[in-house]
Subunit: 346 residues, 2 copies
DNA sequence: TTTCAACACGAAAACGTTTGCGCTAATGTT
DNA sequence: AACATTAGCGCAAACGTTTTCGTGTTGAAA
């Protein structure tokens, strides 16, 4: 078991100084052709690679990006990571992942762990708990220490930084407009509580779409699901809530659900009530996950292009990191949504 | 924008030496109560945190684990990561992720990037391309340099290291036995080419189960799908292959599919051919992903417990890293599979 | 022969820590 | 009063790099 070879070892072996070895390897012309070749041959033989940690310490940059997401077992976030990874690697960066599990404390702890030199900047999506508590001091402190942050998807106005979001409002409008133009007259929405910004915006898009088509929103058509974070019977209670939405609106002929799971649940309930999709009721979801694609009937959905979001976020961050001048102009990039029409709509 | 404060700055500010500050913060009793308090107060005020990179350099360990997986947009791998992250964080480690995208070259490059000091050890699942080429020199070199590796799911005998696998053979047997005991007499299998070890083992399990029940395997019942890595029309060609399986076996009444997607495709084809599930044909998949749970009818499946795999892998690695004695005894842990019965079987 | 570049290399500092050891002054012991 | 102990602190090395600034040797020009 031979440990990794260092400059010092090469130097000793070849009876030259460390500086000479370093320069020889970097093709400095201070070094004679002779020694340069000798050193390089030796280095190749022993498979020398500079120690990243030492370089990080010296350069005061790690070439590593920290990602904090609320949950990894989730197609959207996986896709975002893939996007980040893609451009990060292309530009010589590594990616280190922290999971907040939708918890404020874990978010803070994870960020603290990474902020002490391990990474050059953050890409993150805020946990639900943090959004509820509206405590953003850890973001502010991080930024104040000179470490840039890019937020995506779940962002918050209070923090001044680069952001990548989808046009939730517009996406929702597209979806609802589609339902309307396909003949729906009583469209229900299944959404989250308002503190999740994306939920709020999508609800707003729903309302605006109705308004544009001179349709009156009815309170009974709006279902704001209370989400008990990931509990086991969450699915059951969700189903019950959706069922009551169906029951109190006998003439329901369209559903806009702000995520995939809600949409699938709606499909399930519709089936239970012997409604045909899309003949009797049409359904559109949000988030282009794998469920929508393989559902039966397959689900028309508003795609968020998670990978593109990740790519863009990584670009913003790295550009910021590598920018010479220190001017802080923050950008908010909006990734267009796309309505993917499948079998659940006419 | 105040940069992170260092020992040196505190020392200068308080007019003591760096060593004094360091010792004061670590509660060394070499330092007087007086200065200790002074230093600690100052440190707290300026929110001092030791620089991880410097510590890594000094201690020659990074407290970071490198994960290399073929694909992240995949429930199984996400769950494994979650498991790893869980125990890693609990034991004070961070997690850094590299994606091979099923490519040999990317696997090698990623490992090289991480191996030069960035991490203390690897947890990985081998890419398909690597398995095909059977070129494992990068694993061997890494291990030879004293960096431990834990492999999971897709492992290979040629490499001597800790491994965490599911009992693919036994899991497959469970599934097929279930089909048999539910009355199936003509059971088809949809599997991968043999170079993917898990595919091979599951096929073997299928055969053994048949044998145990005195049933003769028929070549026409075995479909080994050629997987053109992630191409767009992969789904189409997959569907055609499955369809021909159905057509050449008119009396097919059971399907064992080695992954979720194959199982779903089988369901789709069955539906197209007007076979009722589970009355006319029963289907079982492998991998407990989200698709199986939400499919209609929901899919009976062999669960692999991805999270548990991740947890175990992290434990093995960290135990190895923190072991004092240098004896190399490698373990292969088998995680039991579990048959989750849902609606696609009787 | 002296002077001066050019050449080839080495010493040392720096990045931020931790820690063994040595030093000084004060205190305690005979 | 002479000596030993100890508390309290600083020096310096080490981890592995890169880079600036010397410095000694050579060869050529004067």
């Amino acid at each position: 078991m031979k440990r990794k070879v260092t400059l010092k070892q090469i130097a000793k072996e070849l009876d030259v100084s460390i500086s000479t070895v370093s320069k020889a390897l970097r093709n400095s012309k201070e070094i004679s052709e002779d020694t340069r070749q000798k050193v390089q041959a030796f280095a190749k033989l022993y498979n020398y690679r500079p120690n990243n940690i030492a370089l990080s310490l010296k350069n005061r940059k790690t070439k590593t990006i920290g990602i904090i997401i609320p949950e990894i077992v989730h197609h959207f976030f996986s896709k975002v990571i893939r996007g980040i990874e893609l451009v990060a690697n292309k530009r010589g960066y590594n990616v280190i992942v922290g999971l907040s599990n939708e918890s404020f404390d874990k978010e803070v702890i994870n960020m603290e762990m990474l902020a002490n030199g391990s990474i050059d900047g953050f890409i993150l999506s805020i946990s639900k708990e943090t959004l509820q508590q509206q405590d953003y001091h850890h973001f502010i402190e991080t930024i104040n220490q000179g470490m840039p942050i890019v937020m995506f998807d779940r962002v918050v106005d209070a923090i001044n930084c680069d952001k990548v979001i989808v046009d939730d409002l517009e996406g929702a409008k597209k979806a609802v407009s589609k339902l309307i133009s396909s003949g729906c007259e009583n469209i229900g929405i299944i959404t989250t509580r308002d503190y999740v910004s994306v939920g709020k915006l999508r609800t707003q898009g729903y309302l605006e779409a109705l308004e544009e088509h001179k349709m009156n929103p009815k309170a009974s058509l709006i279902l704001k699901v209370v989400d008990q974070l990931l509990s086991e019977d969450h699915l059951d209670s969700l189903e019950k809530e959706v069922e009551s939405l169906f029951k109190r609106n006998k003439n329901l002929d369209g559903i806009f659900a702000v995520n995939e799971l809600y949409a699938l649940t709606a499909m399930k309930v519709a089936r239970k009530m012997h409604l045909r999709i899309p003949e009797d009721i049409q359904i559109i979801g949000f988030t282009d996950g794998v469920l929508s694609k393989h559902a039966v009937p397959s689900l028309t959905t508003v795609s968020q292009h998670g990978q593109k979001i990740g790519e863009k976020a990584a670009e913003l961050l790295i550009n910021n990191l590598e920018r010479e001048d220190e001017e802080d102009v923050y950008e908010t990039v909006i990734i267009e949504t796309e309505l993917i029409e499948r079998e659940s709509t006419k």
